[in-house]
């Protein structure tokens, strides 16, 4: 099948490569001509402009946008004059699903189909395949099936879920039509929300293990600090690298994120390359907003998001106010960092 790809960053370029390997034809465009040339060397058809890309595609066209979320609307606006009814636009980036709903509605009168695809797999997708959550009209998604099938990981060596034998569908291949417009990015949004929670759970547990030798430290006693009641209970110098590794086999908490944790710790158990300022993307925030609209309690996912805010110093004013109150009612003075 033929696909146009706009946006050849790490994600877009690797997707094209995976599609080419799968025997598909790709017409590609990026604002950077150099990137286009590189992929052309890999047998993609390079385009010199959006108009050129559209012209090089057979009708009805299928065009995949892999551009920053903030650039999607402008790219669609620029493409629109060149498109015709029955063409398909696919947003494979990190759009807010609410924008998908709007775009699908805006494109409907022109009979241009809009498909939203949330992808997980990051920098590993070229090798492992991309897990794809897809929203849009059923028949359009089916038309694109060869593309999704080629990009997806496939069943691979992951054991079949008991009971799946008779169910059919594409979920086992690592891609899924989740629902109408926005459905793909909605599911991807929640996926990332869960991801935040999982990551925080591992990080908190590792934090406890790392401090398990706190009983060995001489504590300076001051009125502002509670002494450790039983120092003999905290005398462990745990090897976090080995612990992450041992959990990878046979334990209930084995996961791909644990695999990554083990790999990170093997490089440097102290993680001194990192400062601990953790970014959060839109998905984690939107997940909380959706849960609130739905009245679904999500204390874990929210706590994980807030920890990221705090990691960037966003709790500083709150903290100073706490110190001010403590000074106000008890004359407590802050204890400086050691």
């Amino acid at each position: 099948m033929q696909l146009g790809m706009i946006g050849l960053g790490r994600m877009g370029a690797n997707m094209v490569r995976r599609l080419l390997r799968g025997g598909h034809q790709c017409v590609v465009f990026d604002r950077s001509p150099k990137t286009v040339e590189e992929l052309a060397r890999d047998k993609a058809v390079g385009a010199s402009s959006l108009a050129d890309l559209v012209k090089k595609l057979h009708k009805p066209r299928a065009i995949w946008l892999m551009v920053p979320a903030a650039a999607v609307d402008q790219t669609i606006a620029d493409l629109l004059p060149h498109l015709e009814a029955e063409d398909i636009l696919i947003d494979g980036g990190n759009s807010y699903y609410i924008d998908d709903i709007r775009r699908a509605k805006e494109l409907a009168p022109k009979r241009i189909a809009y498909v939203d695809v949330g992808t997980s797999g990051g920098v590993w997708g070229l090798e492992r395949g991309y897990c794809m959550m897809i929203g849009g009209p059923k028949e359009v998604v089916q038309r694109l099936d060869p593309i999704f099938s080629a990009l997806a990981p496939g069943a691979g060596e992951v054991p079949r879920t008991p009971g799946r034998e008779t169910l059919g569908g594409t979920a086992e291949q690592g891609y899924l039509h989740c629902g109408p417009a926005g459905g793909g990015h909605f599911v991807k949004m929640v996926h990332n929300g869960i991801e935040y929670g999982l990551m925080a759970a591992y990080a908190e547990g590792m934090g406890i293990l790392r401090n398990a030798n706190i009983g060995k430290q001489q504590h300076h006693i001051d009125a502002e600090t509670t002494p450790l009641r039983d120092p003999e209970h905290y005398q462990y110098d745990f090897n976090l690298t080995d612990i992450a590794e041992v959990w990878r086999r046979g334990s209930v908490i084995a996961s791909w994120l644990l695999d990554l944790t083990a790999a990170s710790l093997i490089k440097d158990q102290h993680l001194s390359q990192f400062s601990g300022r953790v970014s959060d993307s839109g998905e984690g925030r939107w997940t909380v907003k959706a849960a609130i609209d739905e009245a679904v309690p999500i204390p874990v996912l929210s706590a994980a998001l807030y920890q990221r805010f705090s990691s960037r110093g966003e709790a500083d004013y709150e903290d100073r106010l706490l110190s001010a109150m403590r000074f106000g009612f008890g004359g407590h003075v802050e204890v400086p960092a050691k």
Copy 2:
């Protein structure tokens, strides 16, 4: 009534002053002779040693310890050779209630009574009176009633709770016999746990108000940061000092902690005198442990405690691990602080 007071720090000294004002006699001791002298000038009877203090008290004696929690057991051990059956030991500090239970049991064979008193009121107690939560044997607590009555705030100008008229008891006077040994410090422990939650609630709210002008800031766009969707919704430069003040009158969230907040903000709305390293005392931690033993969910009180840990950098390793995972699955690099 006569009372021995050991420990003349800010709390102990002011309690003695309030008792003297109330017409009681106080025999006082502190490791610092200068402090003893100062109170002697206020008509307290100074003692030169624990033995001297005991000697100067009528039998059966009532001795109030106002020493750091870590020093209580040693002080009792030093006093014990001088005490006799029917004497009363009162721990007015911040002991863990579990230690109270143990001490009462240890002192029982000697027929020395043990009373634990949790006090709230801090540096304001001399003027406002001390709110006291008391644990110990009923008849002993009753024997000490003149002392508690003098230290307590009394009914004051706080309006009577509807329905209280016929109930009797001392709660309206600001002191209460809560239960057997440890009961006073247990209730004080939970009091402090609640205090953490209340403080955090105000701090978080103020944090939101303070950032309500975030839409005015020029945001550097990078792939790691979600742009603010509706900057026009965050254009408010709120005067936090005035807002804290207005809430003090007629609002549902009026409280003494809000009074203190208002007073702090009036001095400096930016609180730049504080660094935001917030100490936590034992009570906040013990509250969580008790709740867990009792299987009572306390997400708010726990979150308030953890925020204090984080304010002191205790989440740093967790945060670095989150960054490491993000680098692992997506090649995400940390965005440095501006």
Copy 3:
């Protein structure tokens, strides 16, 4: 001063009464003629329709809407044909501040001023006065000062915040111009968010106190339940009614919400009149959304909101999924309620 009041529910009617007591003239309308009659007996001027209300007001008019948030836009639309430039519309209900921003913008071309007022004080406002947080153009808010001044609690017996003497402004009177359109409801929104946190802090603490006798219970031992390690530490039968009362005097956690708690417990310490399904209003939800947009961590306020969701059974599916996973990895079967 003269004011039109539309919506004579509990809040609107009592506001009119307080204004009449303050010597102001009120023209009132409500869909229920009976309510209009009742207030007419209290010397308000009754109106038979929106048009009639507008006609009975001097120009430039000031009209206060005290209708459900969902009805504000329609009421404004119905009023609009009768209004003229320089008239003032005041929304005193619980509007989302984002709607205020929109309305002010929509009314601007007609030169009709829009003022948003968040009020706290609930059913107690008639006696205590209404704490008001106000958004809108400065000169319009100043024009309405006599109204706000009459509705507000005034300085009352609340002690002056140290440092306030030289500051001036109306905050000490219990009302405040917070900022441009939406600023009043924004501050009120955060006020309610804080309220949720405060309420939860008290509730959690009381929950711990109530279960402090758990060591007295005979526990059925099953493999799914951890036995209490030290039952002798949980032998307290606390009197929650008295404890809430004692904290009202001199303690750090005294507040109006504690006053209400004490009053509730005096009626029935077991609160058996209530089922524990806790509603949440929009403000608590919007507070979380605003914090997320601003990247301000608010674990406490969020936890308080989620607890309300859970109280209404909204965590049930999550809980069933946890049970399903436990069954999956360990064969654990749910222990039925006793």
Copy 4:
């Protein structure tokens, strides 16, 4: 190697089977003679009493206890008269690591070694192998290596962590000597704490997906309920079974717990077999206590624990108190369940 096994419940019996398959000799005892007989048929050597078991073992003996945590101390006491210096006691159950520290200390004068083993793998261990976290003296743990090696999963098909090639050690085989006495159960404790967090993250995410059709429902409007602002954003009827499945391949959140989730949902997407009363074991609670002693913030793991408490109705009193306060300040009446 030869091992004595006491306690032939699901875990103990399957461990024996796995050891027998690995060519080891097992002497087994259980209070139920029938269970002993069953394993004897599988070529284990049955014992009729603790004394008999000890007698049938070569010196120095290695005896593995797989009994409920509450029964470990008594079993050790019963065994002790029959044991000799150099014998090894292994506690493979769910003991609190603090008990391990105590036991090791108590057994030291008798020169009986104590080893604590936390195992993960549950009912799947017989086939997958048991992930083991081990505490105790280094040389003793090494002596038991053949046993651990046989019980462990081995490297299996789990891909090697990059960088592991040169590290050596047993972690890759799925078992690890973590540290001195208690170290095994400490690490297992934290493992379970993480497990709670992971499970909650998935459950919360699934909860959001399940309610994503809330915009389709007709909402009864009452003053106590906020209407959904944008119902058109919540029109999705997601197939949770397929979504769990698609995430198993190539996504960042793939894990064994997700595998189990997918398997549970395939049986019944509504999980109607479960009531949602979620048990918690000691490990989750102890994890929080350890974190508090260490001052490590763990909002996620704590929230996950509290949700379990709430699932069993343990928040009911708190919730009723919230309703009582709302009634107190605003006259709000609870909205009954539909």
